[in-house]
């Protein structure tokens, strides 16, 4: 089993309390940064670590910080804790089990971009996460790690936990900002990018929970330590949420570049009832599904992309034989139709129509022309919707037709699922 860094404190008694965190060396990185580094030096250090955004896009974190325009104040840091992409459940583990690591990460990022107010936007359903974060903020404040003139450095910082209210789209960074401003969670067109015009039209950096939780470790151990793990272009460690039909689903920490097979077989214990794998969704529900032959692909941004999918949030969903692939695609597309904000035509109409067509194929009323029609709608959506939700809905549709066209056709010709069904998808 690989060494645990991000999950180092999870499982310790009272891992959410500051006493536990301090006993493990917590807040030393933030203290060191305040004492020894200028913001520009900190940004440079994180750039050298090669840390990439863990929310899904994989954009280099230090680079993102450096896009904030000079001389434009105030600036805000928003931690995206609106974890909701089906399959993804890693940030919750950190927030519930090691909230101080998240708070320290937020504090370090705030210092880097010279923000004095940071927000953590937590999805509304995560009550325990929000409570743990709020308690952690209060503890950190009482210990002098937040508030005015932190540790005598002259630096002031407040962090506010903001709870969402049930809307997947608010995980999209511009929708998150609109929601945080008290409006419907409608995404905005980019540019302008949040780094120049974000929250309250001020420069804003949005980082994922896991991205930020890496910062105390990188500062403590140095960027060279980080780049010594993973691959050249995907350095470091990553949390993988393994779910679906495996014996031991869970959130596992592995160096990037670990083979998919290791995660599923060694960590996940293999598939339920040892059924053969039918498909793997490697990076959350929006990432194109891969066939069983992809088992030896490595889990890093480049290798998964080369295999025709994306690493996304690192949420691996395993689907075994005995599951109807049409119902899998239909279920995911229904989700995106439900979560679409309704602003743009491709998103509003396209996704709803894909759901309707997939529902009729599954119900036995499909037409052979439906596959071309679905792919045509995919073309109309891909890169043409206001925000990435359109592309997200395309992922399961295009990939399932690509790898399982025969199953779709059999469904359409016989009017029913030809796969022996072990599980029914709701």
């Amino acid at each position: 089993m690989a060494e645990k860094y991000l999950l180092r404190n999870i499982g310790l008694p009272d891992s959410h309390r500051i006493e536990t965190y301090l006993a493990q060396g917590g807040y030393r990185s933030f203290a060191r940064v305040l004492k020894e580094m200028k913001p520009a030096e900190l940004i440079d250090l994180v750039k050298r670590s090669g840390l990439r955004g863990r929310g899904g896009a994989g954009f280099p974190a230090g680079m993102k910080w450096s896009f904030v325009p000079k001389d434009s104040y105030p600036r805000y840091l928003v931690c995206n804790a609106d974890e909701g992409e089906p399959g993804t459940c890693k940030d919750r583990v950190l927030m519930e089990g090691d909230p101080h690591a998240v708070i320290e990460g937020v504090a370090i990022a705030c210092y880097a971009i010279e923000a004095h107010l940071g927000f953590i936007y937590v999805r509304g359903e995560f009550t325990l996460s929000a409570e743990r974060l709020e308690a952690a903020i209060a503890e950190a404040k009482a210990h002098g790690y937040l508030g005015q003139n932190i540790l005598g450095s002259g630096y002031d910082l407040e962090i506010v936990v903001h709870r969402g209210a049930g809307a997947y789209i608010c995980g999209e960074e511009t929708a998150l900002l609109t929601s945080l401003e008290g409006e419907r969670g409608n995404p905005r067109l980019k540019p302008p990018f949040p780094a120049t015009e974000g929250l309250y039209r001020k420069p804003t950096v949005i980082n994922n929970v896991e991205t930020l939780a890496n910062l105390p470790l990188i500062i403590e151990r140095g960027p060279e330590w980080y780049t010594s793990m993973g691959t050249e272009k995907s350095p470091g460690v990553k949390l993988f949420a393994l779910s679906g039909q495996v014996k031991r689903p869970g959130v596992y920490e592995l160096p990037l570049g670990t083979p998919l097979r290791t995660l599923i077989e060694e960590y996940g214990g293999g598939t339920l009832d040892d059924r053969p794998i039918k498909a793997i969704i490697p990076g959350g529900s929006s990432s194109p599904m891969l066939p069983a032959s992809a088992l030896d692909v490595t889990l890093d941004y480049e290798a998964i992309a080369a295999a025709g999918s994306m690493l996304g949030s690192g949420a691996v969903i395993v689907i075994t034989e005995g599951t109807c692939i049409v119902s899998v695609a239909r279920r995911l597309v229904e989700f995106y139709a439900h979560e679409d904000c309704g602003q743009c035509v491709p998103g509003r109409e396209g996704i709803a129509w894909m759901a309707t067509i997939l529902e009729r194929i599954e119900a036995g009323h499909g037409r052979e022309s439906d596959l071309d029609l679905l792919l045509d709608i995919c073309d109309g959506l891909s890169g043409r919707s206001l925000c990435p939700l359109g592309d997200a809905a395309v992922g399961p549709v295009r990939s399932s037709i690509k790898h399982f066209r025969d199953e779709y056709l059999a469904h359409i010709r016989t009017g029913q699922c030809v796969a022996p069904t072990v599980v029914r998808i709701a």
């Binding site: 399959g87 689903p249 529900s285 969903i317 709701a426």
Partner: protein, 160 residues
């Protein structure tokens, strides 16, 4: 029904937390919902007044978010995740089982007002599927036996 003094104080607190009071919209609506069980026209007025906006605007924002309820629900709102990871490990039969045990369909409330049954999109607990949420609490790795226990616990709690 007027809002309590405690709710009023809490509302002022959340409004003060942000550089722009409009940002307090979701927390303010959450307070109103906790007070009244669901959002009423009075709640929209109450929030609008605190945020210097109109009740119509507040209602429009509220309509975007699924956790903000516009209708009353039972004492316990049971929300069963039916998204892919939960479905792959048996959410569908568990949902049928819950309907059978409660004697209601999805979207309905038991005649005693105790339970409302609903389905919900991904709760972000995929590695501990199947999952349901009852009010604020998550129940993970569900089985039929576990569901029986949970329903018994909730009934006992309600009888207090």
């Amino acid at each position: 029904m007027p809002f309590s003094e405690a709710a009023q104080r809490e509302l002022q607190e959340v409004v003060a937390r942000y550089p722009d009071k409009r940002s307090a919209m979701l927390p303010a609506l959450a307070i109103a919902q906790r007070e009244q069980g669901y959002l009423t026209p009075e709640a929209y007025e109450w929030v609008a007044k605190a945020l210097d906006t109109t009740p119509t605007w507040v209602a429009s924002v509220a309509s975007f978010y699924t956790m903000l309820r516009k209708e009353p629900v039972g004492k316990y709102l049971i929300q069963v995740c039916t998204n892919l990871s939960c479905s792959l490990v048996g959410a569908q039969p568990l949902l049928l089982y819950l309907q059978e045990r409660l004697g209601i369909r999805v979207g309905e409330t038991t005649p005693d007002g105790l339970f409302t049954l609903a389905t919900v999109e991904c709760l972000g607990s995929c590695a501990t599927a199947p999952v349901m949420q009852v009010n604020d609490r998550y129940y993970e790795r569900l089985t039929r036996e576990r569901i029986d226990e949970i329903l018994a616990e909730l009934r006992a709690e309600a009888e207090g």
